[in-house]
Symmetry: C2
Subunit: 331 residues, 2 copies
C-alpha cells in the first residue's frame, strides 16, 4: 500500500520511506501493472479510434484532431485499423473493449455485424461516437460533414458552368455518406429540371474488390471508362471522393481527352493531392479537423458525463473549392 502511495504520488508518505521505496523500485525494476490498476479503478483514461482507410489523408487528419483534443484532457488514444468490412470492424471493437477503453470513436463504414456489436457495447455502457457512419442508436452520437449539401453544391457548380450531362462516379448504395452525396447530386439536377439519367450514375464495377475502402481510385478509373464508352458521354463528372476523381482523371487523359475542356470534374474531400493535380482538382472540402475535434469532445462528455445523454447529431458545413478541373463557363 505504501508503495502504491509512492508510485501514484498521493496520500501521506514520509520523505524517508518514499526514498526507500523509489530505491527499491529502481533496483527491482518494478513497474506498476496497469491492468490490475485499471481493473480495480474501473477506467483506463484511454479512448479507441477505429479507422477504415488509414492511407487516406482524411482519416489521418481526423486522427490527429481527435488525439489533440483527447490529450488536452489527459486521455490516450489507441488507433485500430479496420480495412475491409464487418469482420475486421468486430475484431477492432472487440480488442478495444477487451482493453476496457473508456470510449470508442468509429469512423468506418456501416455494416450489419459491426453495428450490432457496437450496439451491444453501448448497452454495456461503453460510450460511442460515430463519424460519418450511418448508425442510428439512441446513445450513439453522430458527427458528419453535410454530404447532402456538399453533393448539391458540387453539382450546382457544374450546372452553373453550363453542363447538362453530368455523371456521378462511385455510387455505392451501402455507404450512407455516399448515398447522401448522390442524393445531393440528384436534388441539384432536379432543381434545374435536368433529367436524371441512370446510365450516368456508375457504381462499383463487378470486378473490383467490394469491401476494400482504399481502392477507390480504381473505381474512378473503371467508372470513367464506362462513361466514356457511352454513345452520349457526359461533359462533366462529380466523383464521390478525390481518389475516385483522380482515377477518373487518369481515364480521361488516357482516352486523349482534356480536362476541363472536354470533361469537367469535381471531387470530394480536398485531400492535399487535390491541389497538386494537374489540372488542380475542384472539390468539396470536408472539415476533417472539426469533425475529429467535435467527436472527441462529445465522447469526453459522455465519459466524464453526468447521466445518460441521448443521441446528438452534428452535421458540419463543407466548402466548395473551385480549381482548374471544373473549368470556365460553357456556351
Amino acid at each position: 500500500m505504501t508503495v502504491s502511495r509512492v508510485v501514484s504520488g498521493d496520500g501521506y508518505v514520509s520523505e524517508e520511506t518514499r526514498e526507500k521505496v523509489l530505491k527499491a523500485v529502481k533496483e527491482l525494476n518494478y513497474r506498476r501493472n496497469g491492468l490490475a490498476r485499471s481493473l480495480k479503478r474501473q477506467f483506463t483514461e484511454t479512448v479507441g479510434l477505429v479507422l477504415g482507410d488509414i492511407s487516406n489523408p482524411y482519416s489521418t487528419e481526423l486522427a490527429r484532431a481527435v488525439r489533440e483534443t483527447l490529450l488536452e484532457q489527459g486521455f490516450n488514444l489507441f488507433i485500430c485499423i479496420s480495412e475491409s468490412g464487418a469482420k475486421e470492424d468486430v475484431i477492432a471493437f472487440e480488442s478495444l473493449a477487451n482493453h476496457s477503453v473508456d470510449g470508442i470513436i468509429v469512423a468506418t463504414r456501416s455494416n450489419e455485424a459491426g453495428d450490432r456489436y457496437l450496439s451491444d457495447l453501448v448497452d454495456t455502457n461503453v460510450p460511442v461516437v460515430a463519424i460519418g457512419r450511418d448508425l442510428t442508436h439512441k446513445n450513439i452520437d453522430f458527427v458528419s460533414p453535410d454530404n447532402l449539401k456538399g453533393g448539391f453544391d458540387a453539382t450546382q457548380h457544374l450546372i452553373d458552368l453550363g453542363h447538362k450531362r453530368i455523371a456521378f462516379i462511385g455510387a455505392n448504395l451501402r455507404s450512407g455518406s455516399n448515398l447522401k452525396r448522390l442524393q445531393g447530386y440528384i436534388d441539384a439536377l432536379e432543381q434545374h429540371d435536368i433529367p436524371v439519367d441512370e446510365r450516368l450514375i456508375t457504381g462499383r464495377s463487378e470486378g473490383i474488390a467490394d469491401e476494400v475502402g482504399y481502392s477507390t481510385e480504381e473505381i474512378g478509373f473503371e467508372g470513367m471508362k464506362r462513361l466514356l464508352s457511352l454513345p452520349d458521354p457526359p461533359t462533366a463528372v462529380f466523383a464521390r471522393n478525390d481518389f475516385t476523381a483522380i482515377g477518373a482523371m487518369r481515364a480521361i487523359s488516357e482516352a486523349g481527352l482534356k480536362i476541363p475542356n472536354d470533361i469537367a470534374i469535381v471531387g470530394f474531400d480536398d485531400i492535399p493531392l487535390a491541389a497538386r493535380m494537374s489540372p488542380s482538382l475542384t472539390t468539396v472540402r470536408q472539415p476533417m479537423r472539426a469533425e475529429g475535434q467535435i467527436a472527441a469532445e462529445m465522447l469526453l462528455e459522455r465519459i466524464t458525463g453526468k447521466a445518460n445523454i441521448s443521441r446528438r447529431e452534428r452535421i458540419l458545413d463543407c466548402e466548395l473549392i473551385v480549381r482548374e478541373s471544373s473549368g470556365h463557363r460553357r456556351q
Copy 2:
C-alpha cells in the same frame, strides 16, 4: 468457472448447461472483462506501434504491413501517435505498457528520454523492435532501409548526369537515418573527387518548429530559398525525403526556374505523390511494406519466443526510381 468455460469455449461443458449460460449471458448483457482475463493470463495478444508522422504515407504503409502480419498470427494492433518528440514518445510507450501489450514496434525518431524509457521497458521483458530508430540496445531488434546506400545512389545519379554543384536539403544532425543519407551523399561526392561545400548542405532553418516531423515540406522550401540566394547556386539537389523535395520544387518554381533544366532534384521515400508531381519526382524508394512485415515478424518471434534472442539488424535495399525531375545528362 463454468461460465468461463462456456465463454472461452474450452473444457467440458454439457450442451444443456452451455445453453443456459449463453441465455444468461444474453439476458444480463454480460461481457467478459478483458483486463481481469489478461491480468490472470499474463498476455494480451496485442502489439503496439508508435508512429511519428501519421500523415506520411510512409508511416501508413508501414502500419498496414505490420498489421497484416500480426493479424495472421491472431494478434491485434494498437497504433499510438507521437508527433513531437520525447514527451509524446514517453506518453505513448507508457500507455502501451500500461495496457500490457505483448510487444512494441517503434518508428519514431530517437530521443533521449524516449530511448531511456524503452530501455527500461525492455529490461522488464517487454519485446521491442525499432524501425529506422537509431537505438542500440542488446535486446532491441532493428529494421531500417539502407539510407547510406540510398543517399549514395541518389547523389551518384546526379553526378552521372553531369552535375558538380549538388546540394543536400534537410540535414538534421539528430536524426540517425537522415545522417546516413547525408553520409551517402558525402561519400558519393568524395568518390568522384567533388569537393564537399558546406554551404550546399542546409539544415533546419531556425524559424521552423524543431520537433515536428511533418512540416518537412516547409524545411525544403526554406532550404531551397537559401540555396538559391547563394552567389553560386547548385545545379542539382538531393532532398532528405519527398516532402522536403516537394517544398524545394515549390521554391524553385516560385523563383521562376525550371526543373530539371535549371535545377535537377531527387527525393527519398517514393510516396504516392512523387509520381504525380509535375515534373514527376526522381526518388529513392523505401521498401515500406517489407520493413513493416519484417519488424512484425521479429517482434512475434520475440513474443512467442524461446529464450532471449539477442539484437538482430536488418538493413533493406532501396531502389532509385528515375523520373523527370532529375532530367537528362548535361554537357
